[in-house]
């Protein structure tokens, strides 16, 4: 998937303003291009691991917005269901990013994360650059929670590499750490 462009989609989303408040908006692949984006898939509204992960992500949303990154959560529930969940769950109520309804399975299929025979999406994260190209992906099995802090670290590295052609970020790189400039002289020297 890495290096592939995202495919076309049209989805109805619930974009919250306050708990259970907000509006229904249409989101397409066209809206995604031009900015960094995170697609954050999870299996189902009203379930168990998902809200902790979504809350974790909601808490990083201001940071991500500050980095120029939009976040889209996606499940195969409808936008009606997302709205209802937002209204009734304290954790989910923290969300301010658009929650996409993918009951037609288009987006989950586009990213290759629809669980065969279940009608539910994997617990998968994709980082998409402003050209619509996937730069980072991660999937964990049922029951293993993700880590929004590590996600932020990886997006920062991807942004740094895009902004500084010719530089690469070593393992565990954090903002401010040294980077490397590949050259023939470095071959076999690291």
């Amino acid at each position: 998937m890495i290096g592939k462009e995202i495919q076309p989609f049209v989805a109805q989303a619930f974009k919250p303003t306050a708990q259970g408040k907000g509006e229904f908006v249409e989101v397409t692949d066209g809206d995604v291009r031009g900015n960094w984006a995170v697609f954050f898939f999870y299996p189902a509204d009203f379930t168990f691991v998902c809200p902790t992960e979504l809350e974790d992500l909601a808490e990083q949303y201001d940071t991500l917005k500050g980095m120029g990154v939009e976040v889209y959560s996606v499940s195969t529930d409808t936008h009606f269901s997302h709205k209802a969940w937002h209204e009734t769950s304290e954790k989910i109520a923290k969300i301010k990013f658009p929650m996409l309804g993918d009951q037609n399975h288009t987006i989950a299929n586009n990213f290759g994360v629809l669980r065969e025979g279940q009608g539910l999406a994997d617990r998968a994260t994709f980082v998409v650059d402003p050209d619509g190209v996937i730069q980072v992906m991660e999937i964990t099995s049922e029951g293993v929670g993700r880590n929004a802090t590590e996600l932020v670290r990886k997006i920062k590295a991807a942004q740094y590499v895009r902004a500084n052609p010719g530089q690469v970020c070593p393992a565990k790189w954090e903002e401010g750490d040294d980077t490397l400039a590949p050259s023939l002289d470095l071959v076999g020297k690291i």
Copy 2:
């Protein structure tokens, strides 16, 4: 990929004992089953991000062995090349896990991470459980380094879930944190 079983392969590997020392061994999918395993793909020997990531992983190798996890690094170089790199690079010299030669592209294709038209593997990590089933995966684009500490965290969560059926690990779960036991009463309550 999550939930799929690994496919058959046969590879020559360099298994180091000391810098540039060690032996050439054959590794197959049969050797992998029965224990937890990490497949750690990288593009090419003698390049730039890879050695920092491999060093980072080498430093966690004792921890991982203690958790019952074997590590396999994989690139499309030969085992001869791996041996030569191990001998000449200080960082790589720290590696004690088997370095698989995939110059025939079988393993990279099995895991779907061969970069089309380049003959190189993605920067991809797969965690495989003792049944040969992929539980966690992660890919970053060229230039974005991975984080072995986060990898250890996720493997611990996956091991916990396997050991404790009926429990799930929330976001950012670390060993010792609370877990959740899904039930009808919890529906919509988290």
Copy 3:
């Protein structure tokens, strides 16, 4: 569809006992056979016409149970979503029949009522006899509500015909009205 047998399916359902209370059960085509059944499809939880129709049906549920008829409501939402809706909607809280989660679209496809490109089911009703054979069907477009009283009338006629081979029920037949016994002498005489 009339005269066709229902096809295999496996679904998770929420079977309510009190508002937002109940249990998650698995329902299959095997559970359906042996009794009369109504499959009552609707587009989505938390929407507008549907709850009035479901309430209308809920009010006939005791009558239908008395006639030996089980009711299954079906949408492409999950059983988690059904449970949440049951908990928060007064009208839905009246439901006591199993609410099937069809997020994998199997049942809607089996009955040919998945709206192409939307991932939602039609507003469709099917009456299935104890042999699993569809006897009556009805679909209305978005915004046109169904009528549970008329549904009860048609099920009674279908049950009468099954119980009295050789008899047929004329238009608008209500329980107790005369029926007809087709014979060569009646040809062209009605």
Copy 4:
């Protein structure tokens, strides 16, 4: 079928003026468009349930005409046979709408109601709007009579929804009853 446009057909019909009197006319899909229409399929002339249903419908014909709805009865008999039946049956003699001859099975196939291996149509009703789009459908098995009053109720609801965009009719809606205007605030509140 709901939401699909009707397909092309050409048929010979008997259009009665008095018992066994009238004319033979050609009816095509082009004649149908521009007005609301009911296609009322039945298995065969000179049989048993059909005449009661056709009489029931004939009695609503003035009402339906007043609502701007044309009615077409259809069986796989010829228009010659329709004319002969109209002449000899008291119930059928009440019909004033065109009786289409579909001995070539085109129309029954178009609507998907030809009984496989029998050469007879199902007992099926379709309501078609002025754009030629099917809005309501209903099929009952052999021996179960339909109800023209309920048909009128559903057409009224469909006409109301078409005339009042943004309004929907709840279950059992009768002319004059309240309707609903869907909005985000109503989500999960009905």
Copy 5:
């Protein structure tokens, strides 16, 4: 078609005893074998040339029965329609042979006489011998009446040839006329 065996069919027939009286019987290809048979196709009940032809045939029915020949009239109308026609038409009321309902088009297709795009049979006659093999066929276009006397003449010739192997009947042969015994000496001599 000549020399081909008839294909399987199952049909409902009206077998008259008196005007509009009689019974509904099932007729299959199995009933046909063992005796000589005539299949007499015509386009539609209640039309114009057909009744004169059917009356003509009805008048030869005793003769044909005396020769061991059963007659089957066939149109794409139902057996219900045949019964109604028998009741209301003086000419048709003379018929005593089974009138087959072929509304499913099976028999007309078997004999290759279904008019494409019309759902009606050709005006076709087939003589079938006791082995189910077609010996004589004749088709006339719309509006050209057949001749039952000539049909009887041809069946007599066919029966003579079957009964007298080695003999052939010259043109216009009538019962009692001379026949020919082919031999090498006759080659070129007739």
Copy 6:
């Protein structure tokens, strides 16, 4: 075949003037159009039933010419063979119409009367109208002679129907007999 146009062919024919005298001419489907025509197939020159039938037809040739009908006899023999037969057989010597050589089997195949595996034509007659459309056909099995008088009767009826649109000829119709004008009022009245 009825209602189908004849297909293209080119054939060498023997057109007799006196016994064994005449000329070889080419006949094509183009020569046939514009007049009524009879195609009279038979199995083989120098055989047994054929000459009696051909003689019978030869005796009606003046009548047919007077009606504007051309006659073509056809077998899979060559025109050389036809000429030789005409010279040596008294019956055949009466023929004055073109005898077509179809040793390439084109014409017999066009009319669907080539006996599979024998290379011989059926004993088949086709009446073709001036538009090249087949109006009447008849086939008898080996050994059953045809009747040219009945053929004349049928051609007269076909010509009458073509000349008098809206009129049809009842069974056994002879020139001068009454015909019928179909109308709605006659439906079911004959």
Copy 7:
């Protein structure tokens, strides 16, 4: 064709005894095997070059019989036609070998000599040995007569070679001439 075995066929033949006398016999490929045979194809009975060639061959028939060779003439005419020709032609009357009727084109097709689009055989001769294998073939275009004397010369050479393995017959070899015994020493010496 040389070196290929003849293919199966069944044909009706006229086997003459005196002018226009004889019998009709069935000849198959099985009758051919076990003896030397000549298949002598020609276009059509009653034509021009053919009878001179057939007469030429008829005059060599005793010689050929004496050499153990059977002769079969073949055209696409019937055996009836052959009989009639034998009766009326003085040259053909000399024939005593079987004249095969190939109106079904099987034999001409087997030997690859059916003229495309004509239904006539080439002017072709085939010599077949007792194993059914073709040893000599010759075809001349329309209008060029063959030479039975040369045919006899070639059959004698072929019989000599079969009888004397290791010997070959030089050009223009006549019975009694020297033959050659190929050997390595003769290579390049002739």
Copy 8:
């Protein structure tokens, strides 16, 4: 093959002037057209029957040239081999016509005389007219020599027929013999 045009080919040939002397020339199908030609195939240089046949043909070469006929001998040997054979064999040294090298098998395949699985041509002769159309062909099995005198006779007949349209040559025709002019009056008279 008779009546077919020759197909394209390009070949290297040895065209002798004196024993083992001459030149290498390219010969194509284009060179053949415009004159009569003989293609004289034989299996292999330096073998046994072939040189006697080639010598026989060489002795007729002046006669054939006088008749306007070019001769081409063809085997699957190279032109180098032909030159070497011409130099070392007394019989072959008499040849003055072009000897074509067909080591690529094109010409032998074009004429259908390549022996399957052997890479050698049949002992085959083809006479081609100035339009490139094959008029006469002959093949003899291994060991049976051909006869150049009979070949000359047949070419003369073919040339006579081409020069005198409407005339045909009877069997064994020699230059100066009578020919026949086919006409209807001759049908069955020869």
Copy 9:
């Protein structure tokens, strides 16, 4: 080709004993196995570079026989042609190994060296080990002569490697030179 087994073939060969003397023998792939073999392809007998190469090889034949190696020269000429060439060429007369006739192109195709569209083999050499496996191959374009001394050197190396598993021969290795025993310690050390 290297590492592939030779494919089946059957060929006629000239095996010389003295100039132009010898015998014709059949050689198959079965004869090749069990010993080392050289297949020495060349374009054509009686040409230019080939004889110098064949003479060069003939002079090494005793050496090669001493090493247990059989030699087979192959061209698309026949064995007759090989014999004739051996008789007339001084250089070729030195040959004592079998000269295979491949006029059917089987062997040249097996080894992939038939020049497309020419019917001639490449100037190609193959060394085959006793298991029938190709160990060395070499092809030069038209006009570039090969070198039998270098061929002998390579065969010796191949024989050494087969005889001494675990040893390899460095560049330009001559009998008696040092060889190398690959080991992990040598990796990257040469």
Copy 10:
């Protein structure tokens, strides 16, 4: 392969200037055309026979450059690996020609030398002329070293033939030796 043009490729190469020094350059098929070129394939960097062959070739590089010949070594290792090998091996350090990285297998596949199932190239040499056409090829099995001196000899012969059309080089030809001018008079004389 001989006579075929090279196919398109794009490769990264290490072009050394001093031990482990140099630059990374892109090499394409376009760079190859216009000069003579050698493609020198070998299995893998850091192995055993390869370095002796590459050293042998490196020692001939000045000679080859003087002849206008560029050399490209190719293995399925990356250019990074080539650089590392050059730095650490004394023999390889002598190389001054571009070392192509073919980890994507394109070039090895183009020349047909990728070992199936191993991902390594054969030990193969190709000489390509300035038109990009392969003139000489050679492959040896694992363990058999090549000989750069013989390679130089063959390139000189190929260059001589290209420079002197009409001349060919006999076996073992060395610069300055006599060449041959093929002519008809030489046929069979060498």
